[in-house]
Amino acid sequence: MGKAKTKKKIRWKNYLPYYLLALPGIIYMICNNYLPMFGIVIAFKNLNFRKGILGSDWCGFDNFKFLFASKDALTITRNTLLYNVAFIILTTVLAVAVAILVNEIRSRVASKLYQSLILLPYLMSWVIVSYLAYALLSGETGMINNGIFRAFGLEPVSWYNTPKYWPFILTFVHLWKAVGYAMIIYYSSIVGISPDYYEAATLDGASKWQQIKFITLPLLKSTMITMLVLQVGRIFYSDFGLFYQIPMNSGTLYSVTRTIDVYVYNALMKSSDYGMSSAASVYQSIVGFVMIIAVNALIRKTSKENALF
């Protein structure tokens, strides 16, 4: 008994340095992630800065009632979900197609060059991308109105004030920035497929198209499912940069550009409305959490090896 005790003491002493090494990370997670989790109570309070979070009065679900009584709740939920669905489908299809084509190209130099160039947009911040979009779309100086449309005798369009074009613009800009990233991931999976399969298929007289259909695509399925799970799990989150910077936070476009993240930003920073913004952000994190757990449970049932946890 006494021996076991001393043994245990020595053990803890040996492990102390490891805990010390982990400490900065633990402190950071507490400050950055776990303390804010308690901040969820803000959504159930009538926040008063003089009283602080704990001293402020409870207001139950009033903030949520206000949020869901306004038509904003429906718009931002619809925008967030629909854009994400469109993005997930289109990015996957395009990225897989581009990855297969890159893999077909025999010249190594050309293949590397194409990959680098198509990946370039992914490297840029949304602020920079908004300047690129502005150079094309701006009413007075944009190239589309003043160059292309004028040359074809078309009427100029006031892009930043016309909502109907924005679902397409935002989808295009998203694809422009994201396809390179997804393509790299699919390409690295394709490169990992054993060449034996293709050699055997060629000997059997299979065409390129048949090889893609019966070898490449089935072997990409696992990577595709993993990517899909990751994206569907985040379907309640939108890319704030895309929806805030590219439309330049233009009020006339809100009906088609405002997602949950943009709404939270504007309610918090522009109107200092803690009630509405915290209700929306808690709504997002709770439904988002349920989504990722549900998607993972579903995928565990159908193809266990692709589950995240």
Binding site: Y15, Y18, L21, A22, P24, G25, Y28, M29, C31, N32, N33, P36, F38, G39, I40, F49, V98, L101, V102, I105, Y114, S116, L117, I118, L119, L120, L123, M124, S125, S130, Y131, L132, A135, L136, S138, T141, G142, M143, N145, G147, W176, I184, I185, S188, S207, K208, T223, T226, F240, M248, D261, V264, Y265, L268, S278, V282, Q284, S285, F289, N306
Partner: protein, 299 residues
């Protein structure tokens, strides 16, 4: 038969090259337009719009940047300082934490790992983070606002580094060092870190890019009145956007628009912001691709 094969593969080559050339042009041409726009004469831009072949070229926008170098240069220095400090701190915190949880014998290593993974699944939301950072830690209008919130330690990087430690550093080396009397800190600094340069370089690059490109922390935590001295180049660009937007929505203030940088000047500042990335890209491209593929592979 063979002839058909040759023909088929030529068709594929031509099709693949055609699609990829179009894709590459789509990716690159907007940047070319941005650069040409910055060299366009302002009056020409206002009359004809931006174009790949402007009637009149001008260096006026860059002369403006040279005159305003106090502001833009300071933003540059801020960007570099934030990127350097952020990346180094991030590497230290991530690798020490990953080293501790990579030790299977450490009591509680599973709890610590779960603590890290759980942050990927659930969070308190933007408003709660904003409240905690501004009213509990008071980072508003300090340089820490640009370094600490959300970017410092990514659970994803923790997993990558931990897996690397476990798969690439043989436990026998660590045991041998321990028997020789090396302390845990010595083992970490003298053995583990030198053996992990590839993974640390990869996640360091991805972290540095994230800091260089970040503008959301500044958007939330730097106020125009007290924090504009701390603006990075991304935040200067963002602020110009906001000002233009504000003026175009409030036409009675249009007279003020004259004091703002002209349209080609703004393009020139964007070029200055994007240039370092473009110049460095060919050199770090290989590691950038590696960082992406590592991130895409499930553990």
């Amino acid at each position: 038969m063979r002839e058909r094969k040759v023909k088929e593969s030529t068709v594929w080559q031509i099709a693949a090259h055609t699609v990829m050339v179009i894709g590459s042009l789509l990716a690159v041409l907007p940047f070319v337009l941005l650069i040409i726009a910055s060299f366009t004469d302002n009056q020409t831009a206002l009359v004809n719009g931006y174009s790949f072949f402007p009637e009149k070229w001008s260096l006026e926008a860059y002369a403006y940047i040279a005159r305003e170098w106090v502001t833009i240069g300071r933003a540059y220095i801020m960007t570099i300082v934030v990127t350097a400090v952020g990346t180094i701190l991030s590497l230290v915190i991530t690798s020490t934490f990953a080293f501790a949880v990579s030790n299977d014998k450490l009591p509680g290593h599973k709890i610590l790992m779960f603590m890290s993974i759980f942050t990927m699944l659930f969070n308190g939301g933007i408003v709660a983070s904003y409240y905690v950072y501004s009213n509990v830690f008071h980072v508003k209008d300090t340089i820490w606002a640009l370094i600490v919130p959300s970017l410092l330690m990514s659970p994803f990087n923790v997993v990558l580094v931990k897996n690397y430690f476990q798969s690439s550093i043989s436990p026998s080396i660590l045991e041998a060092a321990q028997i020789d009397g090396a302390s845990v800190f010595q083992i970490f600094c003298k053995i583990v870190i030198p053996l992990s340069v590839p993974i640390l370089a990869t996640i360091g690059l991805m972290t540095a890019i994230a800091y260089w490109n970040d503008w959301t922390n500044g958007l939330y935590f730097l106020t125009e009145r007290n924090g504009s001295d701390l603006y990075t180049i991304q935040l200067v660009l963002n602020k110009m956007n906001e000002n233009i937007n504000f003026l175009s929505n409030n036409s009675e203030l249009a007279s003020k628009a004259a004091s703002l940088p002209s349209t080609t000047m703004r393009m020139a500042i964007a070029v200055v912001g994007v240039l370092p990335m473009m110049v460095a890209y060919p050199f770090f491209q290989k590691y950038f691709v590696k960082g992406i593929t590592l991130g895409g592979v499930k553990e």
